[in-house]
Amino acid sequence: MPLLEVNNLTKRFGGLVANDRINIEIEEGEIVGLIGPNGAGKTTLFNCIAGFYTPDEGSVCFAGEEITGFPPERVCKRGIARTFQLVRVFKGMTVLDNVMVGAFSRIPDADGAREKALEVLEFVGELENKDLLAGGLTVAHKKRVEMARALATDPRLLMLDEAIAGLNPKETEEAVELIGEIRRKGITIFLVEHVMSVIMPISDRIIVLDYGKIIAEGLPQEIATNEKVIKAYLGERYRAAS
C-alpha cells in the first residue's frame, strides 16, 4: 500500500485548470521530485494535499485513509508536514519557539516540546541560532528553521516546496545533504523544485507537471532524456523567455 495516493485530483481557479486529473503514488521511504515550469501547478498540488485547497474532483489518501478536504491542521496530525515556497517562519518569535510550535503537535507539555525542538534544531544545524528572532535570519537559515518546524511535528511525509531555490552553491550542498539525512530517518520526501540539476541527483523518481497535467514520470535519467519533458520544460518556452 502506498503512503500517499492522489487519485484523479482536479483543481480549478475559475476557468484555469491548475491541476488536471493528477494521479500519484508515493511509497514509504521514497524521495519523489515534482518538477515543471512556472505556473505548472506544483504548489497548487501541494496545497490540495496539505489541505489548504479543497480539490474540485478526486481524492487524496494517506496511509490508506482518505484525507480529501481535511483542514491543514488535521492533515498535519495524520503525519504530513510541509514547507512553503516563500518561507513563512513566525517572524516575531525566536527560532526555538518556532520549532516548539511544531513540536507541540505531538507533545502537549512545554518542557517536552522544548526538548524535542532542541533535538530537531541540532539535527538541522540551527542550534546556535535558537534564541534569535526568526524574522532576522537569512533566507537559507529561515528555510532550515521552517524545515525544522515541519520535522518537529514527526511527519511520515515531508513536502518541501522549493527548499533549495535561491540558495548559493554551498547552502545548496548543505540542503541536499540535510534532505539525505531526513530520508535516512525513514521520512518520505516529496519535493518541488524547478531547477532540474538539483533535483535529479537526490530523487528516486521524478514527476513532471506542465499546464496542470502530468506529462512524464520515471527515474531521473529517463526524465532527463524524455522528449516531452525537454520540449515542455527546457524547450520552446524556455528559449522564448530568455
Binding site: A50, P72, E73, F90
Partner: protein, 331 residues
C-alpha cells in the same frame, strides 16, 4: 520548600536587588489602603487594577493571538448587567451573579467569535465594532433591563458576602487586586504553555501555524473565552463598586477603545504591558478629568490618540519593547 524557591530563583537568574525591589513593591501594594486612606488614591488604584484586568483580557486575544477587537465592552457590559439583573430581580448573590455574568459572556463570545474568526485583520476588527454596536443598541432599547436609563444596583448590607461596602473602599481595592493577580497568573500560564505558543503562531502567520497542526479557530476561541471571562468579572466588579450602570457607561464603543489602548500603550502580547498601560493611562485620564473638569473634555483622549499613533508608527511593541531595548543596551 524554601530550598525549591531558592533554586527556582537561581534558575531564573534574578538578581537579588530585583527580588528585594519586587518584594517591596508587593508589600507597598498590599499596604496601600492603610497608607493612603483618602478615597481618591484608593479609587485611582481600583480603576488601575480594573483596567489592568480588562487590558489583560484584551491582550490575550488582541496581543497574543493578534485578533484586534474593538468590542470588548460587550463582555464587560454583559458581566455588569447579568449580576445586576440577577440581584435586582431575583435577589441572587452578586458573587454568583459574577460567575453567571462570566458564563453568559463566554457564551456570547463563542456566538460572536465562531463566525467572525473566519475574518482576518481589518475585517475582524470592524466586525467586532459592528457586534458591539448591535449589542449596545439592543440594551439601550430594552426596557426590561432599564433601557437607556440604566439600572441601580440594590443596596445590600456591607459585607464581603454581599460584595458591597459603603463606608470604605479598601475591600474593593483587594477584590480588584485579586482579579488583577488572577488575570496575570492565567496569562502567564497561557504564555508558557502550548496555547500561548499557538496563539502567537496564529498571530504571526495563521496558515503556517495550521500547517504544523494548530487548529486556529479553536485556539482563537480559547483566547476569546478567557478574554470574555475576565472582562465580565471586571464588569460585575464595576457594577458592585459604582452601584449604577447604563449602556453609556458599560457598553459604549469608547470603552472598547479605552480597553484596547491600554495594552497597546504598555505593550501588546506581553505579560506586564496591560498593567503598565493602565498605570499610565488611568491616572492621566482621572487627573485631567478632576483638574480640567468638564472644560478639559477630550484633551486626555486626544493625548491618548496621539500616543497611540506615535506608538503604532515608531514603537509597535509599546513601552515593554522600549524597556527591553533599554535593558539590552545596558548589558
Amino acid at each position: 520548600m524554601t530550598d525549591t524557591l531558592r533554586q527556582r530563583l537561581i534558575r531564573q537568574r534574578l538578581p537579588w536587588p530585583a527580588i528585594v525591589a519586587g518584594g517591596l513593591v508587593g508589600l507597598f501594594i498590599l499596604a496601600f489602603p492603610f497608607l493612603f486612606t483618602r478615597p481618591f488614591p484608593q479609587h485611582l488604584m481600583i480603576l488601575i487594577f480594573l483596567y489592568g484586568v480588562l487590558g489583560q483580557a484584551w491582550n490575550l486575544l488582541g496581543g497574543y493571538a493578534g485578533q484586534v477587537s474593538f468590542g470588548h465592552a460587550i463582555f464587560f457590559g454583559i458581566g455588569a448587567y447579568t449580576s445586576t439583573i440577577l440581584l435586582s430581580r431575583w435577589n441572587v448573590n452578586p458573587w454568583l451573579g459574577m460567575l453567571a455574568g462570566a458564563a453568559v459572556a463566554v457564551l456570547v463570545s463563542i456566538i460572536i467569535g465562531y463566525p467572525c474568526f473566519r475574518l482576518r485583520g481589518h475585517y475582524f476588527a470592524i466586525a467586532t465594532i459592528a457586534a458591539g454596536e448591535i449589542i449596545r443598541l439592543i440594551f439601550v432599547n430594552w426596557d426590561w433591563i432599564g433601557g437607556a436609563r440604566g439600572l441601580f444596583v440594590p443596596m445590600l448590607d456591607e459585607s464581603l458576602l454581599n460584595f458591597q461596602f459603603h463606608t470604605t473602599k479598601a475591600p474593593y481595592y483587594y477584590i480588584a487586586l485579586t482579579l488583577l493577580v488572577a488575570s496575570i497568573l492565567v496569562t502567564r500560564w497561557v504564555e508558557r504553555s502550548r496555547p500561548g505558543y499557538y496563539l502567537m503562531a496564529i498571530r504571526e502567520d495563521t496558515d503556517a501555524a495550521r500547517s504544523v497542526g494548530v487548529d486556529a479557530t479553536r485556539y482563537k476561541l480559547f483566547a476569546m473565552i478567557i478574554s470574555a471571562f475576565f472582562a465580565a468579572l471586571g464588569g460585575t466588579l464595576y457594577a458592585q463598586y459604582l452601584l449604577y450602570i447604563d449602556p453609556d457607561s458599560v457598553l459604549p464603543l469608547a470603552l472598547s477603545v479605552r480597553i484596547c489602548l491600554i495594552p497597546v500603550l504598555g505593550g501588546t502580547g506581553t505579560l506586564w504591558g496591560p498593567l503598565i498601560g493602565a498605570a499610565i493611562l488611568i491616572p492621566m485620564a482621572e487627573f485631567t478629568r478632576v483638574y480640567l473638569g468638564g472644560g478639559g473634555g477630550g484633551i486626555h483622549l486626544a493625548v491618548y490618540g496621539a500616543l497611540i499613533m506615535l506608538i503604532a508608527v515608531f514603537e509597535p511593541g509599546g513601552i515593554m519593547s522600549l524597556v527591553k531595548r533599554f535593558r539590552k543596551r545596558r548589558t
